[in-house]
Amino acid sequence: MHGISRRGLLKTGVAAGVLGLSGMPLRAQTRGGKLTAGLSGANTSDSWDGRTHSDLFMIASAQGAVFDSLTEIAADGSLKGELAESWEASADAKTWTFNLRQGVTFHNGKSFGADDVIESLQLHVAEGAKSAAQPIVAAITEMTKITDNQVQFTLASGNADFPYLMSDYHLLMYPAGQTEEAIAQGIGTGLYQVQSFDPGVRMVATRYPDHYKGDGAGFFDEIEYIAINDNTARMNALMTGQVDAINRIDFKTEALLRANPALRIQEVTGNQQYTFPMLTDTAPFNDVNVRRALKYGINRQEMVDKILLGHGAVGNDTPIGPANQYYAADMEQLEYDPDQSKFYLQQAGLDSLDIDLSASNAAFEGAVDAAQLFQASASAGGININVVQEPSDGYWSNVWLKKPFCACYWSGRATEDWMFSTAYEAGVPWNDSQWDEKDSARFQELLLTARAELDSDKRRDQYAEMQQILRDDGGVLVPMFANYVQAVNNRISSPDTVGNLWQMDNARMAERWSVA
């Protein structure tokens, strides 16, 4: 990927196809063998319908093995073509033309083409569909089949990140006219063909012969993903060699795994963040001084040390993390400072502040503990936080977006615009701080300008300014970024660079790892 700028790729994307085909193995990876992985995030309600995917088991099984999307995010964060070979944007980033890879077949023998793309994307905006990717597809006003291998998308407004959005794990490509069958049986164009799938229990797939990705990817003959939602059971399975890899290591037992010479721990800092959103349209959080007082009242380093046991990084109240392209690394870090808290309380005309903070471990593991740490550190600055422990069940429906101040998490997004337009754009449903025009006119204006901006340097400045605004005035406290920690045994070799957007090498271990 080196030597080719992300912007260059974005504008023309022609090189992407070459990169995708070459595969660029980091070391000699050999074909053969089997990968057995114990993964959490499985449910008996799982299916091959990409619109319902939300957790690792199905993401790793579907986008990671059996299905493909138009584009793919490589382990180093760069964008490459998957089913799309290349793409071109108009000058206003409103019209995008995708050239599809030729000679690709689905596992049932049907060949892949423009109709499949259009029908697969339309699934997300179908009447009554409940897709999490609905906003992405809804932004496309027109999809035109130019030839069998060329599709043109017209967007409602310019979006320079559009090819990135096409790598979303919900946007899987199904065979047109056979969507139902494909969803029922798992018929995709991916490296592996489903052999058996028992929702919430197990998925077995074998390597699809003559796959278009060739010898540069998909090294195993067979993969087996076993659903193990219980942390201890997952660890036992790895320790006793029944599985080769597991996701989500419990930080408390991580030292035991490290002591085992047959295993290695993979730890990456991505964009996964634990947050405390405040509703900025509700008193007292509608006062920016109150928000600033809280920003200085939280001891970020202590949270990383005690809640994440060191497996993470401090946040600066922006959702843009170290894994993002335009992360403002040089922005001054907010530090714990009770005197500043007091100062901003005075600015707000208050001597002290009494607020409720709603938390539950449904928000993130250790959220209640984190709220109590916050309570202790904020009290020195005259802020009295009352921690309200909420039930885990129904937390996302009854507490989040409803209670003025609560705990939350985000897995982060590949691009700045994607993250902002999911949770910070005025009027979007998941804007969990009710961050709107009246409070953030400049932010919202920059969001639209940057989205359509194809010049990388200008964009960097715009995103830096937006991060600064969020740091100073924003309604979401982002005290920490939590690492993805997973473990693999030495039977399996993995590349030196492991994806940090999602657990398990962006859920693509079946594609990128091999038998050592």
Partner: protein
């Protein structure tokens, strides 16, 4: 014998009433839990529109009483319904052709649980009766005390703790059995047996004490009887006295306890299945409660309750049949 038949019919009728009450209690309880299927399946993505749309699709917007009677009506016709997860999935694809019914979903899981119960019973029942007989034979010796301490402490420990102890000694330190019991269809019997060993041993530890103590107590009770004394005076060996003379007369209470414990092997496996990732009905039950999938939860509970009622009934019938005085009441 007519008497016994009457009891069976009576008890079966009562059993049906119990099932009805169980289904009401479970339905109310699941509805009292915060959140419903739509909210839990959507998680963070639970926008009001999406929640409303799923509720409308599944009929969750109907009042609970209506929903209960709709469900009951189906069950009376032998239709356990379609799980919310499957129905929701079907509404995505626009047809219900692909949706499996609750019965289809539960059948393989129930077969797995029955398999585990049978493996456990095959180990636990002979093992505990043997221990009980030996403990009665060598009562008040070191062997008796040690057996008692061992079985009582294993029944007093939580199941997950026993499970982890077994994993530590039999899977991690001495890799004899796998800690992961992910059995699946088409697996060879021997492999299936090997994979089920640790959960079966865990359950054995849980149920042994009860059966063993009852065997021991029932036999010791009889040892003071005149006919035992007679047998002893004839010069029979103590082992023969117990096995040939005392045990047959002590069977009634023992069978009773065995039946109760067999019921436990079906209804009490939830924790063990989760720890060993055993794809039985217990795990399905936990998963379904988590997403508030009421049709599946209800069906699982009905199965649990039925197992309990039938095995209890069996226990009572067996104790009547094995006791002439109860068989011919005056």
């Amino acid at each position: 014998m007519g008497n016994v038949l009457k009891i069976i019919l009576q008890r079966l009728a009562l059993g049906l009433l119990t099932l009805l009450i169980v289904s009401i209690v479970i339905f109310v309880a699941v509805n009292l839990l915060p959140g419903d299927f739509a909210q839990s399946i959507l998680g963070q993505g639970a926008t009001p529109e999406a929640v409303a749309s799923i509720r409308a699709d599944l009929g969750l917007d109907q009042p609970p009483v209506t929903r209960y009677f709709q469900w009951l009506g189906g069950v009376l016709q032998g239709d356990l319904g379609t799980s919310f997860a499957q129905a929701n999935f079907a509404s995505f694809t626009g047809t219900d052709s692909g949706a499996t019914t609750v019965a289809q979903q539960i059948a393989p899981r129930f077969a797995n649980t029955m398999f585990l119960a049978m493996v456990t019973a095959a180990i636990a029942v002979p093992f505990s009766i043997m221990l009980g007989v030996l403990a009665a034979l060598y009562r008040n010796t070191v062997f008796d005390r040690a057996t008692n301490i061992f079985t009582l402490s294993s029944i007093s420990s939580p199941e997950f703790f026993l499970a982890y102890i077994l994993i530590l000694f039999l899977a991690v330190l001495n890799p004899i059995f796998p800690s992961l019991s992910n059995i699946f269809e088409g697996m060879a019997f021997s492999e299936r047996l090997e994979k089920s060993m640790l959960p079966a041993l865990t359950l054995t530890l849980v149920v042994t004490a009860h059966m063993m103590r009852m065997t021991r107590a029932a036999i010791i009770n009889l040892l003071a009887s005149p006919y035992i004394e007679m047998a002893r005076l004839k010069g029979l060996s103590p082992m023969r006295v117990i096995v040939k003379h005392a045990l047959p007369n002590a069977l009634a209470p023992i069978i009773n306890v065995i039946a109760l414990n067999l019921a436990y092997l079906i209804t009490g496996v939830v924790v063990v299945e989760v720890v060993f990732v055993y794809p039985g009905i217990g795990q399905l039950f936990v998963d379904s409660v988590k997403i508030r999938d009421i049709p599946v939860v209800q069906a699982c509970c009905l199965i649990f309750a039925t197992a309990f009622i039938l095995l209890n009934l069996t226990a009572d019938i067996m104790s009547i049949l094995s006791n002439p005085r109860l068989r011919h009441p005056k």
